[in-house]
């Protein structure tokens, strides 16, 4: 790449079911002002803005980044809007990083958001007027197929949910904070889409995530630790086609291989210090462990059951509490990327993994067909 790219600062909102204290612009500003402060920058330092969110009918505004120009200090600047389904927060960060690594800009603000409480996202996720059963109904057959293929015990999913919900208790910004949960309580919660129970599913949240990206010159001038972007990749495949394996999509495997190659990672299970990945339903943890080449086929669940993915485990996964705890859809991908950067900058607070220096951020969307990933490190190479 022409230029190195680094995360100079990050910020997010306090995520809630309803952020009834702010307008949409006010909510974005909460994340953006935290990110700018973290980067020791002001609006005038920003060269360009890249925004992302899920479908516009969620809030009933077409291309809302137009209205948000003022709130994002965007007058006289370039403003790009990305939309790649659930992976959008990750894809948005990738597009923003390319504005730096291509050499076009020095400092870029990137922000993703959703204010789900404004409208009815279940309607939208069900394909709008074409009808359907929401993301849970769409993904449940794949989780079921995974369970059957792998022979994973039923409580794998409960274990994931328990871990992510515990991690969320350490994250001041997380939405769902459920203390004193047990595997039993998760099992007892209503079965929504067999095999997925309510407590194994993500909530709907209002929130935003923001990062300030800079080139090497800007990163070297920054007084705080930065997260160097060591690789970015996106991959898409069709949602339905003959021969497709939706349980272990090729696009995800290819995307991971590409991003590891760029980051110089030959053994991701050994080289990565932690992973923040997009798990909206608990069974996706073992599925993505395999898809991301972190476990052999049909053995991802063993890492979960052995405690490898716990915050103090050998390969912590979803330190923030993950999508299971916080899910402002458009921002969910960027929150994964942001968390990865916080870990390698050493600023993750109570959910910090000791000594983390290389982390993967992951997002997916559509019919498990869109993938965006980045690897960030505390060192540039």
């Amino acid at each position: 790449m022409a230029e190195r790219c680094a995360v100079l600062g990050g910020g997010q909102t306090h995520h809630r079911r309803v952020r009834d204290d702010v307008s949409i612009a006010g909510m974005l500003r909460e994340a953006a002002e935290r990110a700018l402060a973290d980067a020791d920058m002001d609006w005038s330092d920003v060269d360009a803005v890249v925004t992302g969110k899920a479908p516009d009918p969620f809030e009933g505004i077409m291309m809302p980044e137009l209205y948000l120009t003022d709130a994002l200090g965007g007058t006289g600047k370039p403003n790009i809007r990305v939309h790649t389904a659930g992976s959008v927060g990750g894809s948005t960060a990738v597009v923003a990083s390319h504005l730096i690594s291509s050499g076009v800009h020095e400092r870029v603000l990137t922000i993703s958001w959703e204010k789900q409480s404004e409208g009815d996202t279940t309607w939208g996720l069900s394909g709008g007027r074409s009808g359907g059963t929401g993301a849970g109904g769409a993904f449940a057959p794949y989780m079921l197929r995974y369970r059957e293929n792998s022979g994973a015990p039923e409580n794998t999913g409960f274990r994931v949910a328990l871990k992510d919900r515990r991690n969320a208790l350490k994250n001041e910004y997380a939405h769902l904070k459920l203390a004193n949960l047990t595997e039993e309580a998760i099992k007892e919660s209503p079965l929504l889409w067999y095999p997925v129970h309510r407590l194994e599913s993500c909530p709907t949240s209002d929130g935003a995530a923001c990062m300030i990206l800079g080139n090497e010159k800007a990163a070297r001038a920054h007084s705080k630790p930065v997260a160097w972007v060591r690789g970015t990749a996106v991959r898409s495949e069709l949602g339905q086609f003959p021969g497709r394996d939706p349980v272990d999509p090729q696009a995800g495997r290819d995307c991971a291989a590409d991003v590891y190659r760029q980051a110089g990672i030959s053994d991701p299970r050994k080289d990565l210090d932690c992973v923040e990945c997009y798990v909206p339903f608990s069974w996706y943890e073992p599925m993505w462990l395999e898809n991301l080449h972190l476990a052999p086929k049909n053995e991802g669940w063993k890492l979960t059951m052995e405690g490898v993915t716990e915050l103090d485990g050998d390969l912590p996964l979803n330190m923030s509490g993950g999508v299971l705890s916080t899910n402002p859809i458009g921002a969910s991908g960027m929150l994964r990327f942001l968390e990865a950067s916080m870990q390698v900058r050493g600023v993750a607070g109570e959910h910090q993994v000791d000594g983390a220096s290389l982390a993967l951020g992951h997002a997916y969307g559509g019919n498990a067909q869109y993938f965006a990933m980045w690897v960030v490190g505390s060192d540039p190479d």
């Binding site: 069900s126 109904g137 929504l192 021969g243 939706p246």
Partner: protein, 180 residues
């Protein structure tokens, strides 16, 4: 209007837009056949794959398909994936009872149909590999509708649901890579 009322903190708004969807040529043909009780697809010359409903192109090669590529497929097939849904209530949701939703790969087709309702079988016996057949609505009840990309609405306007056909289960290997 008293000046002392509480501050306004929220507003409600109904965003209402009107749209018209026009049937496509391939959609019209698919629908006409369904009303006659037949399921058709397009068989790509390039890949040999059969798409149901026909889209007018081959997903795997990007080449157009036309009426010349039309083939008829069976109304018997195999369940390649499923879930059991406990309906969440939201605007437009008409379901209130638990039901089985499955992908069904029809005999002669290369890709499975999504959103198929399976009935006449206990929930715990539903499985991938199960052979099923269509239960057609009476001809007079079959409704013209616009065929969307997956064909779901068109199919459910002519096929009520799917039931076990009594045939032996499909070999798991034959459906392992054909969930869709």
């Amino acid at each position: 209007m008293a000046e002392q009322q509480a501050p306004v903190v929220m507003m409600e708004e109904i965003v209402s837009l009107e749209y018209t969807t026009l049937a496509t040529d391939v959609g019209i043909r698919f629908m006409d056949c369904l009303i006659e009780g037949r399921i058709i697809g397009h068989k790509s010359k390039q890949s040999g794959l059969v798409y149901v409903p026909p889209k007018g192109y081959c997903l795997m090669t990007g080449s157009p398909t036309t009426a010349d590529d039309e083939v008829e497929v069976s109304d018997h097939g195999v369940v390649t994936g499923f879930t059991i849904i406990e309906p969440i209530q939201y605007p437009g949701q008409e379901e209130t009872e638990r039901y089985v939703q499955a992908q069904v790969l029809l005999d002669g087709a290369s890709s499975a149909l999504g959103l198929c309702r399976i009935q006449d079988i206990p929930f715990e016996e539903v499985r991938a590999g199960l052979r099923v057949k269509a239960v057609w609505r009476p001809p007079e009840d079959r409704q013209q509708t616009i065929v969307d990309s997956w064909g779901g609405r068109a199919i459910s306007s002519c096929i009520q649901h799917w039931v076990p056909s009594g045939e032996p289960d499909a070999d798991p290997a034959s459906i392992a890579k054909n969930m869709y």
